[in-house]
């Protein structure tokens, strides 16, 4: 008995049907018969386990899957699972067969068969899995596959989409509750079974069932509720029942399978499965009872209100499921027997009725009860199937449904609780409604005189086989209950069993008859009755409200995404300031620390520093108060220079040099960028932000507040950092001591080029990144100026190259004078020489590859500024930044990798002059040819190229006519 194989077979079938082999070469009837046969074989196979089970009670098989998460491929077959598995495969075989004649199109048929097989597999996996987490996996698979089945016609039918979505939403939500519940359950079981051994999860069902004190666990209430939520949603219990009617947009065979025999029973299975360890707790039983009874009454009442044939069946299913749930919830598992009988009976009559409904729908094109009637002659088989099944549903004596109803009434009568009377009343009322629904099915659909001529679609005679067999079951099994069903149920339930077709004219029998007559009575006054009671609220309305509310919440959330980057920054910075204050970090920091200096003496250099700081802050303030951008740029330049001098005073000449050069470069960049932005655009902003806004508004104060907060936070932070440096030593001491080993006087240079060379390598990578990004951005839509510029026109829709906004570019030469021109001619060679000197002698003083690159870049930018793009380009044929940057990066990379092959490690230090024996020779020039020198050269080249790219991209003259052509051409 390979349970895994049994579970896998339907999935295999689905895969086979999905394979091109089956799709192309297997005809529709063949597919049908094959599937049906497979299900029958599985049925037989499962049935063959029965004798074994009768002897041993259960079969458990297990394979490892994810032991660390507690999921194993465990399978468990006992009477309960067997019962469900038989229903799944047995009814499945008939429905597969029926489906073969339901679809006209081969493609649709194939697709349906695939999903139905997969669904059958998932369902089998639910009832056969021996691990609650594996069961959950299967449970979710039923949700997914049923989603596909309900939404089968989704491509054309909006209702099908909506129904499928609703089903997935409700059962999915329940499943999320369920998974938490199951995880908690398995943790709890682990704690109970192996309190000492540190086993986290016991998710295998056979073990969980041994955890008899589960109901006393501290988490019980929580996980019981969560598990019940999962079950209630799946089994469409009140108030989650509303998804089931919506799911009726599935093709009828699917509805018949899902909603009579299988999916909705998964919840029932779950309750029954866990019942042995849960039933001792009051919460569990009373919840099941209450919800079950309410669902029963509501479902059966709504059923008779339906105008849609499948809707009627759906709600009556809801009602029946409620009854079964209530039965499982009866104290001491006393209702299990009745529940199982009900499950079997319901499976037979309800799937038959669904199939009848599908046939009618297929034949007449409608399912509206109003429009049907007089079908008795046209569909004789269906008529008799309906009569038998509906009467079984109504509980007519000697049919299978009667046995079920009898056992139910019996169980309810023996149930003693404070509110027994009320429960009994609910049972009787709902049974009357069910009987009424049954009469409606027979009369309104088949006997009532037809209204008008209808289209009628001829059907294959084989389509009646499935329904007929099911009706036969309802008819005969009542009589065969003793030999056939009782043994099966005896295996399934923990209680001794007794089941009678007719137990004599006892109170149960009389009650059954009364119900039948009551139902008949109600049937006659149905028109009035239906208008009598209406529910003010329905689950569906709540669901809709809920979705609307969610959507409202979503929209509200999206409003925070306002599109204003300033607000984003305000929120972010405000939050950080709030966190710093709220978390008390600042106050704890300041507590007990020396904040203010005790020593107030200053040296002359300190005074110089103070002046520089003052200059920095003053220029910073100036950038705030000036309106014009160029003034801000000038002020910003002052900040940069002042900080550079501060670096110098702080004995950081290397940094100071870089700072001075970079600030100059940055200022130049700002200026040429400003020159690229139309004056009109800038003036408009200045005007709208300053001139038209005299009064300082709230936003200004808010910004000011946040700036002050951040400023104060940083002030405190840096003050503490400065005042209380705890360790006056660092790894830099090692660098100071060892810089000599790399033949460098400048320790900073040694760190940059050797000790932390990779940082520098990456840093030029960052720089290259910026250059490439800027080049691509600025060069889009131009004639390619370099091999790194895009060769294609930009996206047609972007308007940046519209003639309207392209600035007018003039010949630059009119802007310069012979004096500036001559000086710029002189400065470039000097700058290059300085650059070379900085690279070669950078090891002994400030300056390194980076400064060299910036130096040359600055001089080149001077050429572009003074001479204009065309002339500068013409005069510098060798200056091809896109080649230079590549050369630099290549050298840097090779230089970085080469040491790996001589055992020095990536970015390792190599003394090439030593190795080549030219140490003294180059030494006479005051040089050392080392890998760091080559690296510096590479940096210089890369940075020069990168700056060249940036400057060239910005300086490129935009040609108006070309742009116009390009922007109208939708290429």
């Amino acid at each position: 008995m390979e349970l895994a194989t049994i579970t896998a077979v339907p999935f295999g079938l689905a895969l086979f049907l999905a394979s091109p082999l089956a799709r192309n070469s297997l005809s529709k009837p063949l597919q049908t018969r094959l599937s049906s046969l497979v299900m029958t074989a599985l049925f037989a196979w499962l049935l063959s386990a029965y004798p074994h089970l009768a002897r041993t009670g259960a079969i458990a098989q297990s394979f490892d899957w994810m032991p660390s998460l507690g999921i194993s491929l465990s399978f468990y077959l006992d009477g309960l699972s067997l019962l469900f598995a038989l229903i799944i495969t047995g009814i499945g075989a008939l429905i597969f067969f029926y489906a073969g004649y339901y679809f006209d199109e081969a493609d649709e048929h194939n697709r349906f068969m695939i999903w139905l097989s997969a669904f059958a597999g998932a369902m089998l996996a639910v009832v056969l899995s021996g691990n609650v987490l594996l069961m959950f996996v299967a449970w979710e698979l039923t949700s997914v596959t049923s989603f596909a089945l309900i939404g089968f016609k989704g491509a054309t039918d909006a209702e099908a989409r909506e129904g499928a979505f609703k089903a997935l939403f409700v059962t999915g939500a329940g499943a999320l509750a369920l998974i938490i519940g199951l995880v908690m359950l398995s943790v709890a079981a682990g704690q109970i079974l192996y309190p000492e051994e540190g086993i986290r999860f016991v998710a295998d069902i056979d073990l969980i069932l041994q955890a008899k004190s589960l109901h006393e666990h501290e988490w019980f209430v929580l996980f019981a509720i969560l598990i019940m939520l999962g079950g209630f949603t799946k089994s469409a219990q009140f108030p989650f029942h509303f998804w089931l009617p919506g799911a009726m947009s599935a093709p009828t065979p699917a509805s018949a399978y899902l909603h009579s025999a299988t999916m909705v029973k998964a919840g029932i299975y779950l309750f029954a499965r866990l019942s042995p360890v849960m039933y001792q707790n009051e919460l569990w039983t009373s919840s099941l009872q209450t919800i079950g009874l309410v669902t029963m009454l509501v479902g059966s009442y709504f059923a008779v209100k339906q105008t849609d044939l499948k809707g009627l069946l759906a709600y009556s299913t809801v009602g029946k499921l409620g009854a079964i749930t209530a039965l499982i919830g009866l104290p001491d598992q006393s209702g299990l027997k009745a529940a199982f009988v009900a499950i079997i009976a319901h499976a037979f009559y309800k799937s038959a009725l669904f199939l009848v409904a599908g046939t009618i729908d297929h034949a007449t094109g409608t399912r509206a009860i109003e429009g049907l009637g007089g079908l008795r002659d046209k569909l004789p088989v269906m008529f008799w199937v309906t009569v038998i099944s509906a009467l079984s549903m109504a509980g007519l004596p000697f049919l299978l449904g009667f046995v079920a109803k009898e056992t139910l009434l019996d169980a309810m009568l023996h149930y003693t609780a404070p509110w027994t009377q009320l429960a009994m009343l609910m049972v009787v009322l709902s049974s009357m409604f069910t009987a009424m629904a049954a009469f409606m099915l027979i009369y309104d659909v088949f006997l009532k005189p037809p209204r008008g001529r209808r289209h009628f679609h001829e059907l294959s005679p084989w389509i009646g086989l499935g329904p007929a067999l099911l009706a036969l079951g309802s008819l005969s099994l009542g009589f065969l209950v003793q030999p056939l069903i009782v043994p099966l149920l005896e295996v399934a339930t923990p209680k001794p069993f007794e089941l009678h077709l007719f137990a004599g004219f006892n109170e149960v029998f009389l009650l059954s008859l009364a119900i039948l007559f009551g139902g008949l009575l109600l049937f006659f006054i149905r028109k009035k009755l239906i208008q009598l009671i209406t529910f003010p609220i329905s689950g569906d309305a709540i669901y809709r409200e809920f979705i609307t509310y969610l959507e409202w919440a979503g929209t509200t959330v999206l409003h925070t995404q306002s599109g204003f980057v300033r607000y984003y920054l305000v929120i972010i910075l405000g939050a950080v300031a709030a966190v710093l204050i709220a978390s008390g970090t600042l106050s704890t920091l300041t507590a007990g620390q020396q904040l203010f200096p005790s020593d107030l003496s200053v040296t002359i250099t300190d005074l110089a520093k103070i002046f520089m700081l003052f200059l920095t802050v003053a220029a910073g303030m100036l950038t705030v108060v000036v309106r014009e951008h160029v003034k801000a740029a000038i002020a910003y330049g002052v900040i940069g220079y002042a900080i550079g001098v501060i670096f110098l005073i702080e004995h950081a000449p290397d940094v100071a040099l870089v700072q001075l050069l970079v600030e100059t470069m940055a200022t130049v960049l700002i200026i040429i960028m400003l020159g690229r932005i139309r004056a009109g655009v800038r003036l408009r902003v200045i005007n709208s932000l300053w001139t038209e806004r005299r009064n300082y508004n709230l936003g200004f104060l808010r910004d000011l507040g946040i700036s002050v907060l951040i400023g104060v936070a940083v002030f405190v932070f840096s003050l503490i950092a400065l005042q209380n440096r705890p360790l006056r030593h660092s790894i830099a001491e090692w660098h100071l001591e060892n810089a000599a080993t790399v033949n460098t006087d400048d320790v900073v240079g040694a760190i940059v080029a050797d000790f932390r060379g990779t940082d520098t390598l990456l840093e030029i990578g960052v720089f290259t990144t910026a250059a490439l990004g800027l080049l691509t951005l600025l060069a889009r839509g131009r004639q390619p100026g370099s091999s790194l510029a895009p060769l294609v026109a930009p996206v047609a829709s972007s308007s940046e190259f519209d003639a309207r906004v392209v600035e007018e570019i003039q010949d630059a030469t009119s802007l310069s004078t012979p004096f500036t021109r001559s000086v710029s001619f002189v400065v470039l060679p000097i700058a290059i020489l300085i650059g070379i000197a900085q690279v070669l002698y950078g090891g002994n003083g400030p300056g390194d590859g980076f400064t060299a690159g910036v130096t040359i870049g600055l001089a080149v930018s001077l050429w572009y500024v003074v001479l204009g793009y065309q002339e500068a380009k013409a005069l510098l044929p060798w200056f091809r930044p896109e080649l230079i940057i590549r050369l630099g990066l290549l050298i840097a990379t090779v230089n970085a990798i080469f040491p790996v092959f001589v055992g020095q490690g990536f970015m390792g230090h190599i003394e090439f002059d030593q190795a080549l024996g030219i140490y003294d020779l180059v030494g006479s020039f005051g040089l050392h040819v080392t890998s760091s020198l080559i690296f510096e050269i590479a940096i210089a080249i890369t940075v020069m190229g990168g700056l060249g790219i940036i400057i060239e991209a910005i300086a490129y003259p935009t040609d108006r006519t070309q742009e116009t052509i390009r922007s109208t051409d939708p290429a």
């Binding site: 998974i179 938490i180 710093l580 950092a721 660098h735 060769l791 020095q904 490690g905």
Partner: protein, 499 residues
């Protein structure tokens, strides 16, 4: 201590690839081939590295043979190696996607080098043992992604890039402030050495403030509430393969940093940080899920979804228990595969529209005109995102729930799970809108061909494998990772600091 060349190889291959791709800027085909090749080699290196780290412990590489803490050291513990492996794996998907994409921007000579430099930044950030180098790697990644988004075919890419570079600078500032304070406090940049000092119980008073600074920087990189505003714009407008990388692995750099912070450096401050993480995570979950429900664009929906999913991971970290951390890492790992495949799939869908947009108004019903495989893959991906078995999203969910149950934080657990249903709603709705609904009148023109499905197909397959046969090995690996993270002494001793 031996230098491990696999470690170097994983990092350096994409760098070399970027340079070589730059050299071959004239030929777009050559660039793409170089990119894929470099990605593959890096993947092989990182896989081998992961195997080696798994079998013989933490591997290091002292760059330039300058011994730590004086030089820069690369460190691959299981955590770093695992994340680097994740990065290289997803990157292959992204690189392969560029191969048959019709986006204009992918023909730009700078595209592939920038893409590979972004990979360098990503891998480097996860393998470096040096605080400042971490900053440089992160900047490399940020600038590369900003550039790539700015040059996107999407005309709003520039706006997104502008916003991101402004907001991201805040993160850079926090990071630099934190690093400077750390250096001033500890006199070193080596994470192991800092951890060693902190382990001795010494608590320099700047430590908690630095921790918060660094935390803020990482939160910003991961786009956690309230640092998230840039994210939907940025992730949506980037070129498809980039947006797939951004939303899957780039956001994980922050996650990586946060986990390092609470497990290696600031173990004592961790409870304080974790309290914040849980709160922000929960807000993120709610915000992201609700936003995804109502936004107007499929890519944007996935971006909001990332916002929410990062929330899940943060709550996992915030629970501060071993099991929960396992859950968080499993979640982070799996999410990368799911989200990248989904974004690429949406990219494929939008590549069939004439305007290359993923606005629902334009792609509703377009699915009927696409190869049916697209619909299947999107459905599978969506279900995986929603945590349906047997896909890897389910594994993540289960692992995280187990962590939550272990921690017993019912309130957050239930909020999380309740928000999980929103994932189902928005994914299924989107799927139905694209693949089932009738086309809207304005969805007139669908093109006959679009981007290749191959890359997302590969990634979806991986999702399936990770949900089934590879799940257990992955979880075992992550359990080992968390065990290693639980004892910072292992990391410290592997770095082999001088006594």
């Amino acid at each position: 201590m031996e230098n491990n060349h696999l470690l170097l190889g994983a990092l350096v291959t994409p760098l070399i690839g970027a340079i070589v791709a730059l050299v071959f800027a004239r030929s777009n085909r050559a660039q793409r081939s170089i990119g894929v090749l470099a990605g593959l080699i890096a993947w092989v290196f990182s896989t081998a590295l992961l195997v080696q780290v798994h079998s013989s412990g933490i591997q290091t590489y002292a760059l330039g043979n300058w011994r730590p803490p004086y030089g820069i050291v690369l460190v691959a513990d299981t955590f770093g190696a695992l994340f680097a492996f994740m990065v290289t794996s997803i990157m292959i998907g992204g690189l392969v996607y560029t191969f048959h994409s019709r986006d204009k921007c992918m023909t730009y000579p700078a595209f592939m080098p920038l893409f590979l430099l972004m990979e360098v930044g990503l891998i480097g950030a996860m393998l470096t043992g040096d605080l400042f180098t971490l900053f440089v790697f992160m900047e490399l990644m940020v600038l590369a992604s900003v550039s790539l988004t700015a040059i996107s075919d999407d005309q709003y890419g520039l706006e997104a890039a502008l916003k991101y570079i402004l907001i991201s600078s805040m993160g850079t500032l926090f990071l630099l402030l934190g690093i400077a304070a750390m250096y001033a406090t500890f006199g070193t940049l080596n994470m192991a050495e800092i951890a060693q000092t902190l382990l001795t119980g010494e608590r320099p008073f700047l430590a908690p403030a630095s921790a918060i600074m660094l935390l803020c920087a990482f939160l910003l990189k991961s786009a956690v509430f309230p640092f998230h505003f840039w994210q939907p714009d940025f992730h949506t407008t980037a070129p498809t393969p980039i947006s797939a990388m951004l939303s899957s692995i780039v956001v994980k750099v922050g996650v990586y940093g946060i986990i390092r912070l609470v497990t290696l450096l600031f173990i004592e401050e961790a409870p304080l940080l974790e309290r914040w993480l849980s709160t922000l995570g929960i807000i993120g979950i709610v915000f992201g899920s609700l936003g995804a429900l109502r936004t107007y664009n499929a890519k944007r929906m996935l971006a909001y979804s990332t916002f929410a999913q990062i929330g899940f991971i943060l709550v996992g970290i915030g629970w501060g228990e071993r099991l929960a951390l396992i859950g968080a890492i499993v979640y982070a790992f799996n999410h990368a595969f799911i989200k990248s495949s989904l974004l690429m799939l949406v990219g494929v869908v939008s590549s069939y529209t004439t305007t290359k947009t993923a606005n629902f108004a334009d792609i509703s019903g377009i699915g009927r005109k696409l190869p049916s495989a697209v619909g299947w893959l999107v459905l599978i991906g969506g279900l995986s995102l929603a945590g349906m078995p047997p896909l890897n999203g389910f594994i993540s969910k289960l692992a995280l729930i187990q962590g939550g149950v272990d921690r017993g934080d019912w309130q957050n657990l239930i909020i999380m799970v309740a928000a999980g249903i929103l994932t189902v709603i928005y994914m299924i709705r989107a799927w139905q809108r694209i693949f089932q609904q009738n086309p809207l009148p304005d969805t007139a023109g669908a093109k006959n061909e679009g981007d290749s499905l191959f890359a997302p197909f590969l990634l979806v397959c991986v999702c399936l494998l990770l949900g089934t046969v590879l799940a257990e090995p992955l979880i075992q690996l992550i359990i080992e990772t968390v065990r290693q993270l639980g004892d910072p002494r292992v990391y410290i001793s592997a770095v082999n600091l001088p006594m």
